[in-house]
């Protein structure tokens, strides 16, 4: 049953990677990057649910969430100042 989750996450990540590479404008690429990071976060959580020391593995997710927020906000400020 876990393999179903991994396959679904792979399809979702492929969609976000497509938008990251082919997005017509810079905000489209930011949407792809942000969504890809959240898919990675869900992937880490799914992987940690099966591992023997999942309580420690899950703490890496905190860092990923914070880095994603800072990255999206910084890129939004950059777009606001520079244009796409």
């Amino acid at each position: 049953m876990n393999i179903v989750a991994v396959v679904m996450l792979t399809i979702g990540a492929a969609g976000f990677v497509y938008r990251l590479l082919r997005g017509p404008s810079l905000p489209d690429r930011v949407v792809g990057l942000d969504g890809l990071l959240s898919v990675i976060v869900i992937g880490i959580i799914v992987a940690a649910a099966r591992s023997s020391n999942g309580g420690i593995t899950v703490e890496t997710v905190l860092v990923a969430v914070f880095v994603g927020f800072v990255g999206t906000t910084a890129l939004a400020r950059f777009i606001e100042r520079r244009g796409n």
């Binding site: 876990n2 979702g12 969504g35 898919v39 869900i42 649910a49 309580g55 939004a76």
Partner: protein, 108 residues
């Protein structure tokens, strides 16, 4: 209870997949942001509840709760900043009508 946790993990992954498909299929930036907002909110909540049940320690449950609260606080702020920044530099015209700038009630 183990099966319940697995179902929650698969449901969260399915929502992430739906978000990815929507980001590919939708036509303009704000529709794509609508689809992309599925993955960091409800999908993360479902996956976190599933993992907390499956791991079963208090440390993991506390950390996952912190992750969910942080994501629910930060994701709308980031999406708002991004849409506000890009709104000022592009026009979203559906059927040649930009509904965000044209005022339908101004002219009789």
């Amino acid at each position: 209870m183990d099966t319940f946790a697995e179902v929650l993990l698969v449901l969260g992954s399915a929502l992430a997949m739906i978000g990815g498909i929507g980001v590919v299929r939708f036509g303009d930036l704000f529709s794509r942001m609508h689809a992309a907002a599925k993955a960091p909110t409800l999908a993360l909540i479902l996956a976190a509840i599933g993992a907390a049940i499956e791991i079963g320690t208090l440390l993991a449950a506390t950390t996952l709760t912190l992750v969910v609260v942080l994501q629910l606080l930060s994701s709308p702020v980031g999406a708002h900043a991004l849409s506000r920044a890009s709104r000022r530099q592009m026009t979203i015209a559906i059927d040649d009508v930009d509904e965000l700038t044209s005022d339908e009630h101004s002219d009789p």
